[in-house]
Every structure is written in C-alpha cells, then in structure tokens.
C-alpha cells in the first residue's frame, strides 16, 4: 500500500508541476490576435515572418540580414538606398560629393551636414555627436564588431580595433585619435586614410547608424536587449518604427513612431514571427496568421498552378550570385582548361527552368544583374556547350576523361544544396562521362574546411552588402583577400583593382571594374551558375509594397514604411 501511494504521489507531483508551468507561461502575450476586430477602418497591422532568431539588433554589432530587417525599421542613417539602388540623403542634408565640396579633392575628408529636425523616438534631437559615438563604438576592440572591417579606411579605426591587449588609458588615447569628429551639432567630419569613393555607400549601412550614448553608458551592451518581459525600453532609435517587444525565440512587435521626424508610416504595427520551418510558414499563411510567406523549395510550380495562390505571388531578383568555386592552387583544378571544360558541361538553364521551375536567372559572370558592373556579354564563352566541353577536356590533357583523378565536390548540407550537388553530378556524368564524388558536410565543418582553403571544389553564394563592384571583386579575387578562398592570384587584376578602388571618377571607376571582372571570368576560378530570385506569397490586401535587390529574408523589408493595408 505504502509503495502505491508513493508512485501516485510522484505522478501527481508531475501533473501539478506541469500545470504550474502551463499557467505560469500562458500569461505571456499573444499580441496581434485580437487586432483584426477593430470597428471601422482597416487596422494598419501586418504580420511577417523573420524565419529565425537574431543574434543581436545592436546596429554596431549586427551582421545578418534578419538583424538588418529589424534595425532598418528603427533607425535612419546618414544616407539610404532608393529602390533603384541609388543613394538618397536621410539624416544628412545631401549626398556628399567632390562637386558639392563635402568630399575633399583628394577624396580623404568627408564633411557631412545633417538635417536639424531629426529626432530620437523620445523627442531629443539627433546630432553629429550621436554619429561620432556610433563610429567610435564600432571600432571598439571590446565590442568586436563583425562589420568593423568594412570601415577600415577611417583614420585610426583599425589601430583602436586592434588594441585588444592594451590598457584602458592606451585604448582611450587610440579612441580619441579616430578621425571622426563633430565640427558642430549638425556637421560631421570623417577622415579616411585613402580615397574611397564607395564610402558614401558605406554611410548608408546599419553599422554606422546613430546610437544613443546615454543608453550605452547606462546599460552597456545590454541596451539592445529586452527586459524579462520582452519589453525594449532602452532601444531608442530615430526610425519610423519603435521596437516595443522582443519575445526571444518567438516574435517582435514594432509600433509606429508617433514622433517620427519624417513622413510617418501608414502601418501602426508590424509583427515579425520566427517560424523557421517552411511548411509551417506556408500553413500559417494559409490559416491567415501571416501576411507574407515563402514557399518550400520545389513547390514553386505547384504554387503557380494554384488558382488561389498564383495571384498572390510576389517575385523579384535579389543581388546574389551562386557559383561552384575551385581551389585553383591544387591539382587538378589549377588547370584552367579543365575548369573551362567543366563550366561548359553544365546546363544551367535546365537547372533554372526544370529543377527550380524558372525561379532565378542563369549567371555566366559574377556581378549580378540590377547593379553597377553587371555585364550580360561576359562569360558567354563558357555557357553550356557539351561539344566544346569535350574539346576543352581533351585540351586540358584528359581526352574523354582519361587520366583524370577522382573529382571531389564539397558542399554544406543546407536547403537545396543536396539537390544542386546531385544535379552537378548528373551533368558531369551525362555530358563528360566524369564521375563526381560529392561530400555533403555539416555546415560549420564545411565553413571551417573552406576558410582553411582545404576544399577542392565547393559551392558558394555571395549577396551584396551594398550595390557596388567594390563589394564583389576585390574581396574575392585580389591576391590574399579575406574572402578569396579560391587562391586566385592575378597581378594584372590586383593592379587594376587597386586603381579602381581609389578612382573618384565614377565612369572611369566602373570601366576599370569591367576590365577586372572580364579577367576573372576568363580564368573561371568559379563556375557561375545562377542569380537568386525571391519568390514569396503575399496577401492581396497588402498594398504599397516596394521591393529591392537588397531586401533580406523578409521581402520588401527595406521599404516597409510605405506599406499599407486595404481590405
């Protein structure tokens, strides 16, 4: 008897404990559920899917597109991008140029005048000091910002960033030496070590959005973190929306900034959910819980054939190129003719049109269409041509594949990667009779192999941080550059790149980059495969959506301030 009660009591404890947990947790809010019952006018609320949890939403620290999605709603920088990817002034009065003297003749000093009516969401003015603080914080060695390297050309920035082991006094001295200062409340001066014309584009990116010194002083790096209830009282921005709530791993709630200095957005509330599973997101969309959702990869054709869903499709190209990149330092891929032969053996349009149901665009060169530097005529020599592929293979010293060592291809096993690997395998088999060994790897293991340049042939994608060849060519193809994993080294390319990076005349600059890209494409250190196209569903009542090639995982996130709801 005694033992029976013992078992029973354990069971009842379990039940009670679970009930306590349930009731304790059910108090956390499910916002947005009852907002659709508003009486007269259509509620201006939208629910989108961020598809994952963010690391940080501190502008100085953020590095992922889903982090940018939140930050750009809450902050305005000096400059911004228009939907056609040209620059526009935001907090700055005008775009700095040499012509308007905001950029000095040597291209090394930027003097930026600010608007005097920009306010933080608590009503205080945004001044040049806020930008100075943000720049200096970006270079802080203790903060370890991942985008610091983008701004290496600022005087004193790197010296401060590298001061990890130094004393506080030494760090302070280095921080004071950074070439960013407030001339007066509405004039900001930035000094660069070299002429860098694309620095204006860097001024439009989130790492140098203004940051409140008082909040950071008070709360340290936790200023961008929610409190225990998910509220964000210290996350003060100068953007069109205020982040009211971040319930971690669950959702974000943003509300309209009623004190916004510019044109107030029409939406009163944006909710970002964090549904990671693609099938779940689609189900939530169909159930009316989301106003926009992606579709699981491979279902695009069915979606297009669906009478209800097809009018709700929203698709647009994004600035991303995918490529099969070689390690050109190791045999057999140090052989240019072999690389060219393989490039000619891949039917990219079959991949786009059949496997991806026409979503995306065949790429034959590196810089994607829709941004400066794209050249449609480049790379056509290495488009799909099985006969030429066979000839090149013979010229490379492997007639009919004879004497070719085992070819290995490494790829991270994420998303549609296994499919593209199997596709490549099939193409080489069918068009050249070559067997390819595919090594599917866990994502980090792949990245480690790749960063250590131990791979032989891999798959990579590159998305634009900003729409300029500066972001696409030198980082990947200059000898020894940080993201040059192929080991590509071409002195002619290096020389022309150095010239282009500093060239203040835009036309001439782009001409130089065109030459540089042509050199790379001819050498085929990568086989260019396709450009990405975003393919999402959006409810018909979402109006005013403007998309851009720089959009992140949430389609239209760059211009949510223009969106409204009309039912």
């Amino acid at each position: 008897m005694k033992r029976k009660t013992f078992i029973l009591s354990i069971l009842s404890i379990l039940v009670i404990v679970s009930l306590i947990f349930t009731s304790a947790c059910s108090t956390s809010s499910t916002s947005g559920a009852n907002s659709s019952t508003a009486a007269n006018s259509t509620p201006q609320v939208i629910t989108l899917n961020l598809a994952g949890e963010n690391n940080t939403i501190d502008p100085n620290r953020a590095s992922w597109t889903s982090e940018r999605t939140i930050i750009i709603q809450c902050f305005d920088g000096l400059l911004t991008f228009n939907s056609d990817l040209t620059l526009a002034p935001m907090v700055a009065k005008e775009i700095p140029t040499v012509a308007n003297k905001d950029i000095s003749a040597d291209g090394k000093t930027y003097t930026i005048k600010l608007k005097n009516n920009v306010t933080w969401s608590d009503g205080t003015k945004v001044t040049a000091k806020d930008f100075v603080f943000s720049f200096k914080r970006l270079f802080s060695p203790d903060l370890a910002s991942e985008y610091e390297s983008f701004y290496s050309d600022v005087v004193g920035g790197d010296a401060y960033f590298s001061a990890t082991g130094k004393t506080d006094a030494e760090k302070q001295a280095l921080q004071d030496a950074i070439g960013v200062r407030a001339v007066d409340d509405y004039t900001l001066e930035i000094k660069l070590t070299d002429s860098l014309p694309t620095f204006t584009q860097l001024l439009a990116l989130w790492p140098v959005f203004p940051v409140r010194q008082d909040m950071v002083a008070k709360y340290g790096d936790k200023w961008a973190q929610p409190d225990a209830n998910g509220a964000m009282p210290n996350y003060i921005g100068n953007g069109p929306f205020i982040l009211k709530e971040w319930v971690q791993q669950d959702h974000y709630t943003l509300v309209r900034n009623e004190k916004y200095w510019g044109t107030k957005p029409k939406l009163t509330q944006i909710t970002f959910k964090e549904l990671t599973d693609a099938n779940l997101a689609l189900a939530a969309y169909k159930a009316g819980e989301l106003d926009q959702s992606g579709v699981p990869g491979g279902t695009e054709q069915t979606t297009m054939n669906d009478a209800t869903l097809s009018p709700q499709i929203l698709r647009f190209p994004t600035l991303t190129t995918y490529a099969f990149q070689f390690n050109v330092t190791k045999p057999p891929f140090d052989n240019k003719l072999l690389r060219q032969a393989l490039a000619c053996a891949i039917d990219r349009s079959a991949y786009i049109n059949q496997v991806r149901h026409g979503v995306g665009k065949v790429a034959l060169s590196w810089i994607p269409p829709g941004m400066p530097g794209f050249d449609a005529t480049l790379g056509t020599d290495w488009s799909f041509n099985p006969t030429k592929a066979k000839q090149l293979l013979a010229q490379a010293g492997y007639p009919d594949g004879k004497g070719l060592p085992e070819l290995k291809f490494q790829i991270a096993n994420t998303g549609a990667n296994p499919t593209i690997a199997a596709f490549l395998q099939g193409q080489l088999k069918d068009n050249l009779g070559i067997n390819l060994t595919v090594e599917l790897m866990e994502s980090k293991a792949y990245s480690a192999l790749y960063n250590a340049k131990q791979f032989t042939w891999g798959f990579t994608g590159w998305g634009a941080d900003y729409p300029d060849p500066d972001d696409w060519l030198p980082q990947l193809y200059m000898t020894g550059a940080g993201n040059n994993k192929t080991g590509y080294s071409n002195p002619a390319f290096d020389a022309i790149s150095k010239q282009a990076l500093a060239e203040l005349d835009n036309t001439k600059r782009l001409q130089l980059w065109a030459q540089a890209q042509a050199m790379v494409v001819a050498d085929q250190p990568m086989i260019y495969v396709f450009n990405r196209e975003t393919f999402v569903l959006q409810k018909p009542w979402v109006k005013g959506m403007v998309t851009s090639g720089l959009d992140g995982n949430v389609a239209g996130d760059t211009f949510l301030r223009n969106v409204y709801i009309q039912k």
């Binding site: 491979g298 039917d347 496997v355 994420t414 395998q425 599917l440």
Partner: protein
Amino acid sequence: MAVEINTPVVFERPPHTLWGDAIIRLRRNYFAMGGLAFIILLSLAAICAPLITHYGFADQHLDQILQGPSAQHWMGTDQLGRDTFARLLYGARTSLAVGIFTQFIVIVIGLPIGAIAGYAGGRVDNYIMRFVDVMYAFPDILLIILLRSVLGGSIYMLFLAIGLVAWVNISRLVRGQLMALKSRDFVSAAKAMGGMGPYITWRHLLPNALGPIIISITFNIPRAIFTEAALSYIGIGVKPPTPSWGAMIQDGFNLIFSKPYMLLFPAIALALLMLAFTFLGDGLRDALDPKMRR
C-alpha cells in the same frame, strides 16, 4: 472424409532445446512468418534491384521532373527526374542496413554491459550505470558530427555513429530485467547447483529477459532508420546520389503540399517494414518464452 492430419497426437516429445523449440513455435505464428517473409522479400528485392527496374537510382531525366505515378514511372519522379520506385528499391539497401547493423552494434555493446551490471549488482553496477549516465547525457549529435568528420563519410561510419550512441537504452533495459530475475527461485537453484555467473546469466537469466529486449530491438530498427533521416537532414547522412528511405521521407516532407506522393511511397514502405518487424518481434517473443512450452 479427410483424415485430420493436424491433430496433435504426440504423447512423448523428443529432447529439445530452447532455440529448437522456439523455431517450431515461430513457424506456427502466421503473422510472424508473414513479417519475416516481407523482410526477406524486401531484402531480396533490394539486392536484385537492377533486375526489377531498368532505371538507375541516380539517372536524371530533367525533362520529367516531379511527375506523378504513371506506367513509365510507377511511383513518379523526384526534383531531378529520378525514378522514385528505383530509388525506393535501392534505398531499401541503405535503410535495412542502417536498421539492422546499428541494432547489431547495440546488442554487441549494450547486452553484455547491461547483463554484467544487472547480475553483478553492487559496486560494479554502480560504476557501469554511472558510465551509462554519462553516455546518455552528452550530446550525441556532437559525437556523430565528430565521428563522421574524423573517420570519413562512409556508410559504415554511419552505422557505427548511430550504434555507438544507441546502446545505452538496451543496457539499462537488460540490467533492469536481470535485477528482477536474479532473485527468483530458479536462479537460486542454479546457483545452489554450482552454476557460474556467466553461465547462469546466459543460460537462465537472458532467455527469461528476452521478451522486452526483442520488442525494444524491433522497435529500434525503424527508429534507427529515422535517425538516419534526421542525420541526412542536418548534413551528416548518406552521400548523394545514394538514396535512403529516411532521406526520401525528408525530401517528400518539403513537398508535402504540392507532391504528396513523394512522401507517401517511402512513408508507406517504412510503415510496412515497421509492421513486419513488429509482427516478427512479437512472434519471436512468444516463441522464446520458456513458459509457453506445452
């Protein structure tokens, strides 16, 4: 009138062994035999796959992508126009191998360890079980990622990786059974007759503990097949283009709304295999039950 040949008129039984007896009893169990037949047939079909279908598991037909079942492709085609029926047949090789070999590793490691702990008890039991606690607790995904990256990506490594983390359940189960059995009269009798520990364990304890162990193993075979699917999902499964049922279910899941048959066929195949193992497991349990001797 026909003579009733089945009538049991055996008055005296020939000398028999546990296993010999078990086979006779198993043969009388139609469900178990049906399950066994299905497993054997599937294994044969997997081995002789090239004789059954003329499609290869890696042949891509880019002009016939994601087609529904037809006379040409009995179970339709996948994202690369590969024949699903062919992939299912060849995939049975991977999945059966994963299911059976991992359980083999599990038995080889888990059974003796559990038996020693359960029989010896006391300090030995404590040491072994704390070791099992350690094994339970640490993250198997980490171990599998490590094993796969250090030892390479062959399918044998996959067996080893799954088996090495799965044996703890069986060892705890065996231990629990032996702890309950060892104080029974027949064990005391065997001990009194001078039986040695290993002999008693092997001869008296394990056969009596087999029921739940067999059930657990037949249950774990499909679980191992699922584990393989989960591993494919996180990037440490079988190499493409080798098919496996787990990976096919994973692929089909992505297309569940648009091409449900992509999920349906591998899922049904797995369910049938599971049913076959369940029937066989139940039959084996009944057959090996020493109390069932008539």
